[in-house]
């Protein structure tokens, strides 16, 4: 057994699981804490990933017949500001989150007043439209041909063969930072109001809380986090095309993760991400037709249904805090 190979494989797993963990936390803010049926995660995934890619990638080389017209070239741009440790990476992550937050704002204002299943359909439509735009407007991000050569964070520190080990560590750290930050936010006064809205919207309104404003803010926060997740993905994979952001692996699997792990609490979100991605990855190794990607597709759906029927609170149920 090649230890190096195994380590690389596990690193790859940890990278994707952590990225999905970030998304699950974002979705948890939308659905678990605010009851928003966001089945358009793919939209924020794409925007976050492409934003980070576009701001860091080199401008198009006229000799290569690339279709896209803008490359931010952030690593070069920052020059010595990088302080030798590729600080551009963090700026790119924040940038991706901000772009998602900015786009989320008008979406929230328009759609959040809708009834829940309408909101779902609207979210789906928006995500699909975003994907279509990236597909058709080649000047934006090379359309169907995809973007190559997205810069590597700290690429010089480790040999390419073992880079994934480093990036796995980075992904986990980012996940933890986000987890801790969100936990702080939840315990803050803002977070407590959000919780009271979830428990009894009518009571909260009668206490003078602008419920709608809180929902919008919550949507924007979740979108920011999803943007960061997309950016982490972009620099891990270093290749993007619109086909990456198809519904199953960029929206529905995240819903499965939240259902499995436990909607309403962030530890559950992370647990769900690792569990479901674990199941997804290991079914690759089942013998014969059992490893067929179509069966794995089927299994994702089955997991959602089974969890809803038999364990709706998830693997890590939310602890019910005493009311103040």
């Amino acid at each position: 057994m090649d230890l190096g190979g195994v380590l690389i494989y596990i690193s790859g797993f940890i990278i994707m699981a952590s990225i999905y963990g970030i998304f699950s936390i974002g979705l948890n803010i939308h659905w678990g804490f605010t009851g928003l049926f966001n089945i358009g995660i793919a939209g924020f995934f794409a925007i976050g990933a492409y934003s980070s890619a576009l701001i860091t990638i080199e401008p198009p080389d006229p000799n290569l017949f690339e279709d896209y017209i803008f490359g931010g070239n952030l690593p070069e741009l920052l020059g010595f500001l990088n302080l030798g440790i590729d600080l551009w990476f963090f700026f790119a992550l924040i940038f991706a989150g901000l772009i998602c937050a900015i786009i989320a704002a008008p979406i929230a204002l328009i759609t959040l007043r809708l009834r829940e299943d309408y909101l779902g359909m609207a979210a789906l439509g928006i995500a699909e439209t975003i994907r279509l735009i990236f597909l058709n407007e080649a000047w934006l991000a090379n359309g169907g041909r995809g973007m190559y050569g997205i810069p590597k964070f700290l690429g010089d520190m480790v040999s390419p063969r073992y880079y994934d080990l480093l990036y796995a560590l980075i992904a986990v750290v980012i996940l933890l930072v986000i987890y801790l930050t969100v936990q702080r936010i939840i315990k803050s006064p803002w977070g407590r109001v959000l919780k009271s809205i979830r428990e009894d919207e009518v009571a909260a309104t009668s206490l003078g809380k602008n419920v709608f404003a809180f929902k919008v803010q919550s949507f924007i926060l979740g979108a920011f986090i999803m943007g960061v997740g997309g950016a982490v993905f972009a620099h891990g994979f270093r290749f993007l095309d619109p086909f990456t952001f198809r519904p199953l692996l960029s929206t529905f699997i995240i819903w499965t993760m939240l259902m499995v792990g436990g909607s309403g609490n962030n530890r559950g979100a992370i647990a769900g991400a690792f569990i479901v991605w674990g199941v997804w990855s290991t079914t690759q190794f089942l013998p014969g037709f059992l490893s067929s990607p179509d069966l794995r597709y089927f299994m994702v759906g089955l997991l959602i249904v089974v969890m809803l029927l038999f364990k709706p609170s998830g693997v890590i149920p939310e602890t019910i805090e005493k009311k103040n």
Binding site: E116, D117, Y297
Partner: protein, 327 residues
Amino acid sequence: MSIKNIDYFWIIFIVVLSGLIIFGQPSLLINGLLLGFIYSLGAIGLTLVFGILRFGNFSQGDLMTLGGYISLSIVTVIFAGIGFTGSALGPFTFGLPIILAIPLTMILTSIIVVALDQLIYKRLRTRQASTMLISIASLGVAIMIRGLVQFLWGNEPEYFPRESKQFYMLPLDIRIPPDNIILGLMAVLMTLGVYLFLKYNKYGKFMRATANNPNLSLSTGINTSIVIIWTWIISGSLAAAGGTMLAVSQAQILPMTGWKILLPIFASVILGGIGKPIGALVGAIIIGISMEASTAWLNPTYKPAVAFTIMIAMLLVKPNGLFGEKD
């Protein structure tokens, strides 16, 4: 219909029609109309489930896909296996086998959806799960169906047996595939059938009552369990028929065929008003025409975005839809 409803409808209709005349592509209007009839089969089923079961069935698109694949298998495997093949009828590309396959598919798909209801949705209803949770479950069902379809039939497009036929060439440079006419007609007939069922049949009336007031229906003695089963039978049959017709009109079927039109179907239902079958029909026609007409000046891949934009516009202006109650 109140005066206000009629105004909205005509305004939208005239705007769309003018747009088409301005851009001189009347054949898009006709084909869009016929496609709208096919969409309406999916939309009517969706709106019935919305009205009576009170949740958005996100698996409706994939049920249509399933129906299409089942028809294909019936024609290419079962019928062919027993030597029943038919040459194309008249000006159409398809023949008897597909026509006879459709009722069989409708029956099979009805059985499947009723089973899904009894195994999954009914359990959630007994537990008084929120409508959101049931919608999420239907999302899970959609993914299951798609995975199953991919597993059984593969990811490559499958083709219906067909013979090449001439398009109809009409004045004004209108080209119409004859298939679309007969398919559109069949869809209209099925819609009419549903309308008559709802208006005159005992269980049709029970369905309308349950959609209007589930508690009163219960205390009036209506057996709402049977009403629910009828709802799924109608919804499933129409989806199966619609999926088959869609596949025939596109000459091929893919696992994503139904999912791709989920957005337009939802848009149709919202446009027409949740729970109103006539609304679903009108909504589907408007969406169908708008999507086709948009290709005159917009990249065809953006067609779903057109449906989506109309849906959002409706939700902002009159969320209860054209035929829905006043806000």
